[in-house]
């Protein structure tokens, strides 16, 4: 069993002071949140490429994103789309937090921006160039552009941030891990501010082909907005999405000293591994249960203090049933008093950005006292018997929200957000 968490230095509590979002339902936080609470789906037929020969032809794409609104044109051209989305979301988050970056603080700011895969498009383009035109026509920028750490690096470069810059990959758990890491960097004093989150843009034919052949994707091509239906009995897989979400996470003493708006606190987190299978979750939900329990304990809270679970809720048969079971084992009888919702019903599954989407939802739920719904919930599944906030958002005072992120290969990451009371 886990040892008790160390006593926490109040000055080094990790608070959230700014948010940024580029998502299938809005390219800024206000639009994202109003659509998320109104139950608007971001799923539509694929527009990024001609998908007519694919079995699955729907996705949750970011719409109308113009890189030049956020960075200069030359820099944008040398960034893969996953990095562009992240740079834009980071710009929003930094502006919202009022953080001024300069020589006085640039060494004490860190970036932890994770992803599932990185610049896959650049690999495909590079390979096709090499095959059709020869190796000396491959772009000299291909290698750095495809590197999965480049979203974090570009945020560092664009903003002059010189503290630790770390990126890790954990498939669909990636950006929940970013919050866990951010809290640690703050606590151990390696940084005063961490630009933390996740990004993904894997809207290319090879991803759809491979995921469809795994049987992971919903085939509801005729009815895109209703394709992602987490916890519903008729769910048939997830919808692939793209997005970036960024939180400015800051030491409480630092945020208070500069009078920054404090939206919530990252109170605790935990990571575990299923050690079970490369793509399926352990049906016992053991690893997920353990991660939830350890995260709440790391936050110095009791399970009964959690009101809201931002579910991983992918809309696959297996995930949603296993996650339900894991929530039941982690929370016991308190599970029946929890609100559990999946924003993937609207955003699709944005893989490495999914945890960041849930982090945004958790912070905003605490700020505004509302649970965003799980849309497309029509038919109850006996294997999924929690309160999923079906179809309509609900007002409630939210003190503590828990975010789940589970990835291929059995990586479980959980972060606990809490209202900050000083």
């Amino acid at each position: 069993m886990s040892r008790p968490p160390p006593p926490r230095d109040p000055a080094r509590r990790a608070v959230v002071t700014g948010l940024g979002a580029v998502t299938p339902i809005g390219n800024d936080v206000a639009t994202f949140w109003s659509n998320l609470t109104a139950g608007v789906s971001g799923v539509a037929p694929i527009s990024a490429f001609d998908a007519s020969d694919l079995e699955v032809r729907i996705a949750a794409e970011v719409k109308g994103f113009e890189p030049r609104d956020w960075m200069d044109f030359k820099q944008a051209r040398r960034m893969s789309r996953f990095a562009q989305l992240a740079v834009a979301a980071a710009r929003q988050a930094i502006d919202a937090s009022g953080l001024q970056i300069g020589d006085h603080n640039r060494d004490d700011i860190a970036v932890v921006v994770n992803t599932g895969a990185g610049g896959l498009q650049e690999v495909a383009i590079g390979e096709s160039t090499m095959m059709t035109k020869g190796p000396d026509r491959v772009s000299p920028f291909m290698v750095p552009m495809m590197s999965p750490s480049m979203a974090a690096c570009q945020i560092s470069i664009q903003n002059g941030i010189r503290g630790p810059v770390i990126a890790s990959v954990a498939a669909c758990a990636a950006s929940v891990q970013a919050f866990v890491e951010a809290q640690r960097l703050i606590e151990r004093g390696d940084a005063d501010v961490v630009i933390a989150g996740g990004t993904e843009s894997a809207i290319m034919s090879v991803s759809f082909a491979a995921l469809a052949n795994m049987g992971a994707l919903s085939r509801r091509n005729q009815d895109p907005e209703r394709a992602s239906r987490p916890f519903d009995a008729n769910r048939d897989g997830f919808v692939l999405g793209e997005a970036a979400g960024i939180l400015v996470v800051e030491a409480a003493e630092h945020a208070e000293a500069r009078g920054a708006p404090i939206l919530a606190e990252i109170a605790g987190g935990a990571l575990t591994g299923d050690a079970f299978h490369i793509s399926a979750p352990d049906p016992s939900g053991y690893g997920a249960t353990l991660a939830m329990q350890r995260a709440v304990r790391d936050a110095h809270l009791e399970m009964e203090q959690v009101q809201y679970v931002v579910a991983h809720g992918t809309s696959t048969k297996l995930n949603d049933a296993t996650e339900t079971k894991a929530i039941r084992s982690a929370f016991g009888s308190h599970a029946d008093r929890l609100a559990v919702s999946s924003n993937k019903s609207m955003l699709g599954h944005t893989l490495g950005a999914a945890g960041a989407m849930s982090g945004l939802a958790a912070v905003l739920a605490i700020r505004d006292g509302v649970f965003p719904p799980t849309i497309n919930y029509e038919t109850a599944d006996p294997a999924c018997d929690l309160d999923y906030v079906p179809n309509v958002a609900r007002k409630a005072a939210v003190e503590v929200a828990l975010v789940n992120g589970f990835g291929f290969g059995g990586q479980n990451a959980v972060t606990v957000f809490q209202r900050y009371l000083g």
């Binding site: 060494d107 004490d108 096709s128 491959v138 560092s156 990959v169 151990r188 390696d190 490369i278």
Partner: protein
């Protein structure tokens, strides 16, 4: 504020020791073979055999030779997984046995709590070989023929997933990516996970298998690769391609491999009777915030990572005996890293031994930092310092002691390892000889 903060209350007593090592590298499979080669100054660089390199200007690499993945995984898993995962599984097996953690069933022994045993297993790019196969299938045979296993096995965290699955390691599991600084970050973050009390044993590890034609096209276009020509005779000689700190250096050599360090909380190791090989005492990390490919002048970011690691270790510059340099053999890296060492270490820089084992292993990208942390563990436990080979023409600007060409017996007790990555990542580790 920032770098100087003390460890948090309640966990400052948690020391982290290395209790097991495992490696698959271009100079050998296994710690003994690899270490012998490094001490003997043998290069692992040769003409590429994994594909036909004739269209490429640079046709050499550090390939892992004679590696049979089926010796470490069952045939079905071998077929489904990328080569980088094969290396990771093989190196982890050796490290677990070395640490006395392998049970009879080929999984982690029941004597330790698998929930308190985790890993940070990094890579630069992950399963690029699998991704390219998938793309080729898609282009040639259509979407329905793409393997359902392609995606989970291509992702950069599939090695960390498979290692956990195969050996039953169920604690915190992360895969860090920071290009060529990855290995340093992986070992450092693994250490911090133990210090913070979230695990008792962690693998700090890296793996990479980037030897696909596309990588040679990409790096070739960046003009980043060293040419396999003996600068004195003009003859073709793959073993001469990597010449760190030499005046004639002209680029790095891409290589592959994996290295695993078993890190363990000291009391935990003691209680189960494990023998510590070394102690990890320092870790620092920073970003250049400068350019996505070029390093910052005078290794400014590297300097801050080294200073942070020294602070974390609670030692001054004079406490360090040996630096395993990032030393890639590119004109800029080696120059700026030398500047950075001079600026951080002052007069003590002239008393340091500094070598680049990339002269022999080539640059294994995301695995490099872990390979070199393993080298540092061996240096502080044996006192023997592997050389920088191919060092014939001193660069008048680079005046440190690069341990040229011959290994050296010393009493080195504290070793520092630098890793820097595309995008401006810097990570530094400090290891110390284990003494109670």
């Amino acid at each position: 504020m920032g770098q100087i903060a003390a460890r948090e209350p309640g966990v400052s007593d948690r020391r982290v020791v290395v209790t097991g090592l495992g490696i698959v590298s271009p100079v050998g499979i296994g710690v003994e073979a690899s270490w012998d080669a490094l001490v003997a100054g043998r290069s692992g660089i040769d003409r590429i055999t994994l594909f036909d390199p004739s269209p490429f200007e640079v046709d050499v690499a550090g390939e892992v030779k004679g590696f049979d993945a089926s010796a470490y995984m069952d045939a079905k898993d071998v077929r489904r997984h990328d080569r980088n995962t094969h290396f990771a599984v093989a190196a982890t097996g050796e490290a677990l046995r070395h640490a006395g953690l392998m049970g009879d069933n080929g999984r982690v022994t029941d004597e330790v709590d698998a929930d308190r045993f985790g890993m940070v297993f990094g890579t630069g790019i992950g399963g690029i070989g699998i991704l390219l196969e998938g793309q080729k299938t898609l282009d040639e045979r259509g979407p329905r023929r793409v393997s359902p296993f392609m995606l989970p096995h291509m992702l950069p965290d599939s090695a960390s997933g498979q290692v956990a699955i195969q050996y039953g390691i169920r604690g915190p599991n992360m895969a860090v990516v920071s290009a060529c600084a990855t290995g340093g970050h992986a070992v450092g973050e693994a250490m911090e996970t133990i210090v913070r009390g979230q695990a008792d044993i962690m693998l700090g590890a890296g793996t990479e298998a980037p030897l696909v034609p596309l990588a040679f096209a990409g790096f070739g276009q960046m003009r980043a690769l060293g040419t396999p020509i003996d600068p004195d005779t003009g003859e073709y000689n793959p073993a001469m391609a990597s010449r760190p700190f030499d005046m004639t250096r002209n680029g790095f050599v891409v290589s592959e491999g994996s290295a695993v360090l078993v890190l363990e909380e000291f009391q935990h190791a003691l209680a189960r009777g494990a023998r510590p090989i070394a102690e990890v005492i320092g870790y620092g990390s920073s970003a250049d915030a400068f350019d996505m490919a070029a390093p910052a002048e005078r290794g400014e970011g590297n300097q801050r990572a080294m200073r942070a690691a020294l602070t974390r270790a609670g030692i001054g510059p004079e406490g360090v005996d040996y630096i395993n340099a990032h030393g890639t053999s590119t004109p800029l890296n080696d120059k700026y890293e030398t500047h950075a060492i001079r600026d951080v270490f002052g007069e003590h820089a002239d008393r340091l031994a500094v070598s680049s084992t990339k002269s022999m292993t080539g640059h294994a990208m995301g695995a490099a930092g872990a390979i070199e942390a393993l080298v540092c563990a061996k240096v502080v436990s044996t006192g023997c310092i592997p050389p920088t080979i191919n060092y014939r023409h001193p660069d008048p600007e680079l005046t440190l002691d690069y341990v040229p060409n011959e290994a050296r017996s010393t009493d080195a007790r504290v070793a520092l390892s630098n890793s820097m990555g595309l995008g401006g990542h810097n990570s530094t580790l400090i290891l110390r000889r284990f003494e109670d």
